[in-house]
Point group: C2
Chain length 348, copies 2
DNA sequence: TTGAAAGCGCTAACAC
DNA sequence: GTGTTAGCGCTTTCAA
């Protein structure tokens, strides 16, 4: 009952030509006469011929597939990035094989191995936030398989990457807060293992120093990004004898949790917030912080995918790796919601 | 410079054994002596052997890949479903190749074709909402490639599917509204091409009939699900000479847009809402409707994936298709947020 | 303009 | 326990 898919060989037999002729005709090779080409295509159509990608990949030693590893797909940030990457991949007739590291290094290593089995032609990755050591990617390097990092990138100079530069935006946001009279600005930062955490801290300190505001370490708290951690971090700030008037939070998830807590205590007016955007636009439309830093996941994805395409195509053409690495920091942006005074007006 | 990946043949040569021995040793075939197995594995390790999945798929005529087609990946609903499907696929050592139809039939057809090229072993699909006619899937049927539909499924009896049954939940929600004194209940429905739209309408009418409430056609409006469409639909209801007191909306996106409009007009108390959930939990945590119908995407995805696994494994074992189709409606659930009286208290 | 033939890396009868 | 061998479907020299 199970119908077999027609092969090139069978088409060749039907037409009394060779398999090479069929193969060439099917892909419009110029060395085949138009008459033959038509005949081949006609039969191929009649027989419902479907090229076998496995066989092609096997033969050509190219999978026409790129690997994508992100921490978690449920984060809108990575959904947007995926969409952008997917569009470019599709435009180049590439497939994407997806892996979620759940920010775990071992899972990440397993995914890399799996991708290697599949002989991906290239890899785009936002590395796991829990102690990624880049080691598991060395095999790709050895085999000259191009890798492009995005969003969360290792601290090395010999890699291709695109990442967000949020220092300027954060400084701008702090400037705005300070202009509005804020002097006690707190920071709810993320886990210390994240480079993003370090970067936020550095920018925060610079922002204060630039305005000659003394750093007060009790205004710097951290969260493990769990709901409990977020609430507990905010609580610490609330109960300070000399509490802040504005808070920079690690990301939107933290921000939303803070909103909850403040509302439940009837303290919606207590703080101004600057948050780092992970949410799609409509969420902020409903919950406006004082300022929100946008990191353009789609833009990052697009650039990363284009980098990888260039690397893969370049590799196909010559065998020389590019003289220099593709490295790009894309500017983040900060959006201010000046008209949002109170948290409970966030729904406008 | 580009190092080649060691093959089984090379390992065989090094050890002076045959390729079949290596192949068998590598996968722990019982017919190979432990000594040989160890030697083979040792050399494989030293040589950084990486099995070539393309070659294996090619040889075994199985891709160990399943296709997944959803309308759009940016919808949290499908992200959840994907996660669940991915977990099961990974557990069975299957890969997923993803496609987004953007609810367009032609795109969907292209994806199916692409998946066929890749010889996917099975397909999970939530069909395109714009005029999907199931035709493009006939090729899969012919080739006996199992297909499982989920969420948005065609109206046929000879298919495998899992979908949400929300009639019970919606009736329960309406019951609750009516008990609370509501008699004028409106419906903001979706595009008529969607079966989900028809189902909502049917349940809505039944809900009213069950309580001997006359159907008032001016209380039934539709939206194309764009923001403008949503606002315009709500506006129609607001400006009715005899407006409703409660509104059933097509989904959470519509609900959020409605909230915006009402808040901007200072009419936050005007309506109670029942909405169909697409949002992750935390969103409703911030914006509480009167009732929210949960359709359990992860549950649906899990069931669909398990169905497909069974079908694929069954196919591997014998060649008989299962006597009957896998068909499952999973109960939806309705959550009531009774304490949320006013829309601007939605942020709790 | 076409054909013959080798081979991509691996698996799985079948033979010993 | 292990080897021999014949492919899987396709591309691509090389030859005609």
């Amino acid at each position: 009952m199970e119908r077999k898919i027609t092969t090139i060989k069978e088409i060749a037999k039907i037409l009394n030509v060779s398999t090479s002729t069929v193969s060439r005709a099917l892909k419009g090779h110029p060395g085949i006469s138009p008459v033959t080409t038509d005949r081949v295509r006609k039969v191929a159509g009649e027989q419902d011929y479907i090229p076998n990608q496995s066989a092609i990949s096997f033969n050509k030693k190219r999978s026409y597939t790129l690997g994508l590893i992100v921490p978690e797909f449920s984060e809108p940030f990575f959904c947007s990035a995926f969409n952008a990457i997917e569009n470019i991949a599709t435009a180049h007739d590439y497939n994407i094989i997806i892996g979620q590291s759940y920010d775990d290094m071992e899972t990440e290593a397993k995914l890399v191995k799996k991708f290697m089995n599949h002989r991906v032609d290239g890899l785009i990755i936002s590395i796991a936030k829990k102690g990624s050591d880049y080691q598991q990617l060395s095999i790709l390097e050895k085999l000259n398989i191009p890798v492009v990092f995005f969003d969360c990138v290792p601290d090395r100079k010999d890699i291709h990457f695109v990442a967000s530069d949020f220092q300027t935006s954060l400084l701008k946001g702090m400037q705005e807060l300070i202009t509005a009279g804020h002097r006690k600005i707190a920071l709810i930062n993320g886990p210390t293992i994240l480079s993003a955490t370090r970067q936020r801290l550095v920018a925060y300190i610079k922002g204060l120093r630039d305005h000659n505001i003394e750093i007060n370490s009790s205004l710097i708290v951290t969260t493990d990004l769990s709901r409990e951690g977020n609430l507990s971090a905010l609580n610490k700030l609330i109960h300070l004898s000399n509490p802040p008037t504005a808070v920079i939070v690690f990301n939107d998830y933290v921000f939303l949790d803070c909103l909850d807590l403040l509302n439940s205590k009837g303290l919606e007016d207590l703080f101004k917030f600057i948050s780092f955007g992970n949410m799609p636009g409509w969420v902020l439309y409903h919950h406006k912080p004082f300022g929100s830093i946008e990191q353009f996941p789609a833009e990052q994805g697009k650039i990363a995918a284009n980098m990888l395409m260039q690397l893969m195509i370049g590799k196909e053409a010559e065998d020389e790796p590019p003289a220099k690495n593709f490295q790009k920091y894309i500017d983040s942006d900060i959006v201010f919601f000046r008209d949002s005074i109170k948290a409970d007006q966030a729904i406008v």
